[in-house]
């Protein structure tokens, strides 16, 4: 250390090892739980964990699951999720989770072990270029090379993870840094040197937005995951703004729960498997207010046919989300809660009256679209009748509504995920955990685990497919170890249903490799992991299984045999416009030819 550097404030601070400094910084950042898996490079941290009680460690069975569990924890609490993995394979196993968190803007700090600094670059045992590998997989990452940087970097990582548009941050920790003594410093109170996201909206832009919104004849409020990330204050402001204006509200997959699904202003989810009314409202609106959504391709369909006649206002905390896919007329860079509050104040202050007649006509139009009942399905109630997957979710929803317990839903990826989004009606934020941007099969079970850790008394259900659930099934062991009463509700159609659906509709019914062959006996599987297995084969068995599952004090796998041929509708095929939607067999279905251009899209 050079002579001009200030001496450590208290001699006491240099009695701590790097690992102890790390834990102290985590504690100061409010960390209560770490999801992790040990290995050589992180043994000093595990040793420090062993000698304290403030932070609880949850031992997962695969590092990918540690990140998804932390995502579930973060998304259901609004806190930063914390992960600890070893170097090399520990870090590479975590990458899928990191990208998942990046795509869905989930705040995560992931600590990765690294070989000692003097070995970095030598292809040492279990060395991987973790900062190199995770650079495009994270919001930001750090390699701590000097003990004196350790505490500052940890504090900074938490700031970066939760500020602005949240995301995953990796801190790569060489083993010598963990062992050597390191100084502890408290979190800086000064603003970050370079990273200062804008959270307050520009008043001029808000005024422009209000002028457009007041003049609207056919308005829509299109909300996304940003409203959830902005916390309860944002959901609350959204409700007040929508009720004040009487404007219809739709939501992306990630935004479900920000606006109550049973409210008459709510049109349901929009996008590829959104409702008829939500998509036609988006197509036909004259003023669109996007709050915290990002014009994702699952939502817009064919870009040059997306909402062709509308003026667009876009509120986003990330300026790079604005004008990325869809050019907008009024960009507003801000936190969703701050922007919505500003809109409410400006709406009230503005003497102009909204176009009530126009709005009334718009609602009459919307009601005729709603009349189509695009999610309609027919469920036979005959004894032995085949269960429709939609009906299974609907009953799950209705039965959970009968109790007054907090209910959290996670999902895997596929048709079951879309049916869950369509039929499980959320009325509060942070109750719905799903892998939206990355679409990661295997997300739901570990995410449910993380949610259950955060909310021990809540009812936590992973709505799963029989294929997805096998991708992180090892976590049943974690669930057993911590006696987590997580419920796994498998819509077992014996197919990778979403793949099968695309093959049916787009590839001439050639079901290449999409049949779920050689499935395990899920009832026995639950048993093997100290849980309870249940099965419903026909519609008359469904309610009893759901009730028994919910009543069980332990982990449950409920294997629900559902109609193998059922498809998820409505569907806007890739590359089609919103008004070019395929409706289900209950309707005059109209599948317009899918272009070659559409075929290349995923």
């Amino acid at each position: 250390m050079s002579t001009i550097a200030p001496a450590p404030a208290a001699s006491e601070t240099l009695t701590l090892s790097g690992a102890e400094v790390l834990l102290r910084a985590l504690k100061d950042q409010g960390v209560e739980v770490i999801f992790g898996y040990p290995g050589g490079a992180v043994l000093p941290i595990y040793d420090a964990i062993f000698q304290q009680n403030a932070i609880r460690h949850i031992l997962v069975r695969h590092e990918q699951a540690a990140v998804h569990a932390a995502e579930g924890y973060a998304r259901s609490t609004g806190k930063v999720g914390c992960v600890l993995v070893t170097s090399g394979p520990g870090a590479t196993n975590a990458v899928t989770g990191l990208v998942d968190a990046l795509m869905d803007s989930i705040p995560i700090v992931c600590l990765t072990g690294q070989v000692p600094t003097h070995l970095i670059g030598n292809d040492a045992f279990q060395e991987a270029d973790t900062t190199g590998i995770t650079r495009p997989a994270t919001k930001h990452n750090y390699l701590v090379k000097r003990s004196e940087d350790l505490a500052r970097v940890v504090h900074e990582a938490f700031y970066v993870a939760r500020s602005g548009r949240p995301g995953p941050v990796v801190i790569d920790l060489p083993k010598d840094i963990l062992i050597n003594k390191a100084p502890y410093v408290a979190a800086a109170t000064a603003a970050h040197r370079s990273y200062r996201p804008q959270t307050q909206p520009d008043a001029g832009q808000i005024a422009k937005a209000i002028a457009l919104l007041k003049s609207a004849k056919r308005p829509v409020i299109y909300t996304g995951g940003g409203v959830i990330n902005a916390g309860d204050a944002a959901s609350d402001a959204l409700r007040r703004f929508a009720r004040k204006t009487g404007y219809p509200v739709t939501s992306t997959l990630m935004g479900l729960g920000a606006y109550p699904a049973n409210d008459p202003l709510f049109l349901g989810m929009l996008g590829m498997h959104g409702t008829y009314e939500a998509n036609l409202v988006m197509h036909g609106c004259d003023v669109m207010l996007n709050v915290g959504a990002r014009f994702d391709d699952r939502v817009t369909g064919r870009l040059n046919a997306f909402s062709p006649g509308s003026k667009k206002i876009h509120i986003d905390i990330d300026p790079s989300s604005i004008n990325k896919n869809v050019p907008v007329d009024v960009p507003v860079v801000a936190d969703a809660a701050a922007a919505l509050e500003a809109l409410i104040a400006a709406w009230d202050a503005d003497p102009a009256q909204p176009d009530r007649d126009g709005l009334a006509a718009w609602w009459r139009q919307i009601d005729t679209w709603r009349g189509k009942d695009s999610l309609r399905f027919t469920q036979t109630k005959a004894k032995g009748g085949v269960i429709k997957p939609q009906y299974a979710i609907q009953r799950l929803y209705e039965i959970t509504r009968e109790m007054d317990r907090e209910v959290y839903i996670t999902t895997e990826v596929g048709q079951h995920q879309m049916w869950a989004a369509q039929f499980f009606r959320f009325d509060r934020p942070n109750r719905w955990m799903t892998s939206g941007g990355l679409g990661t099969m295997g997300y739901g079970l570990p995410a449910a685990m993380g949610v259950q850790i955060a909310h021990p008394d809540a009812l936590v259900i992973d709505i799963a497919g029989e294929a997805s659930i096998l991708m992180n099934i090892q976590e049943m062991s974690t669930i057993a170890q911590y006696r987590l009463p997580v419920k796994v509700f498998i819509l077992n159609n014996q197919y990778m249903g979403m793949v099968r659906q695309w093959q049916e509709l787009l590839h001439g019914g050639r079901y290449s490799e999409s049949y779920s062959e050689a499935l395990p006996d899920f009832v026995k599987l639950a048993d093997a992991f100290q849980g309870v297995g249940m099965r419903a084969q026909s519609v008359d068995e469904l309610d009893d299984v759901i009730r028994a599952m919910i009543a069980s004090p332990t982990a449950v796998i409920a294997d629900i045999a559902v109609d193998q041929k059922e498809n998820c509708f409505p569907m806007i095929p890739s590359g089609a416009a919103h008004n070019d939607m395929i409706l289900g067999p209950e309707h005059e279905s109209r599948a317009r030819g899918i272009s070659d251009e559409g075929l290349v899209l995923v």
């Binding site: 900062t131 190199g132 650079r135 495009p136 919001k139 930001h140 990452n141 390699l143 090379k145 970066v160 602005g164 548009r165 040197r193 370079s194 990273y195 996201p197 990330d318 300026p319 790079s320 604005i322 004008n323 990325k324 869809v326 050019p327 907008v328």
Partner: protein, 172 residues
């Protein structure tokens, strides 16, 4: 903003960054990962303590893409400021090239020397059959100089890429 605007433009973007490990990899990874062009890129520390570096990037794209590039750069954690010099107003942009010309032909060599003088290039190395010229100026001027040297025995080129700055009192 007009989405239909498909005209390509060139932009000279200066980015002030924290001088830390990996920052250049972040910037380059952003361009390759998102499929943006890099026509030229330079980087060097620019403050006394060596805490800040300036990256100058010459890129091209539609207006929407260039706005997107700037927004993507600006959200990188170690980035202080992103300035689109092409948009701020008049600016100077210059690069330096070392140009080696080899020729056995005395006429060609004297032609090379004469053109170098006219372009204002310095001769920094000479042997009986070769020269190394050092030339500073706009990208266009350097290109023109290279075109002139090509028939005269141009053998090797080393260019720095563009350094750029606004004119007048504006700073980024």
């Amino acid at each position: 903003m007009n989405a239909m605007n498909t005209t390509l433009r060139t932009a000279t973007i200066s980015v002030l960054v924290e001088n830390e490990a990996g920052v250049l990899a972040r910037v380059i990874g952003l361009f390759s990962g998102r499929g943006y062009n890099i026509e030229s890129l330079t980087v060097a520390p620019v403050d006394d303590e060596g805490h800040k570096s300036r990256i100058n990037i010459v890129t091209s794209g539609t207006e929407m893409v260039i706005q997107q590039i700037k927004a993507q750069l600006d959200r990188l954690v170690p980035v202080y400021r992103v300035a689109d010099l092409t948009q701020i107003g008049p600016h100077v942009a210059a690069e330096m090239a070392l140009v080696k010309v080899i020729s056995d032909n005395a006429d060609r060599r004297s032609e090379a020397l004469r053109f170098a003088g006219e372009y204002g290039a310095r001769t920094v190395d000479a042997t009986e059959t070769s020269f190394v010229f050092e030339m500073t100026g706009s990208t266009e001027k350097l290109d023109a100089f290279l075109d002139t040297m090509r028939p005269l025995g141009l053998a090797e080129v080393s260019r720095t890429g563009v350094a750029a700055m606004t004119r007048g009192t504006t700073i980024i």
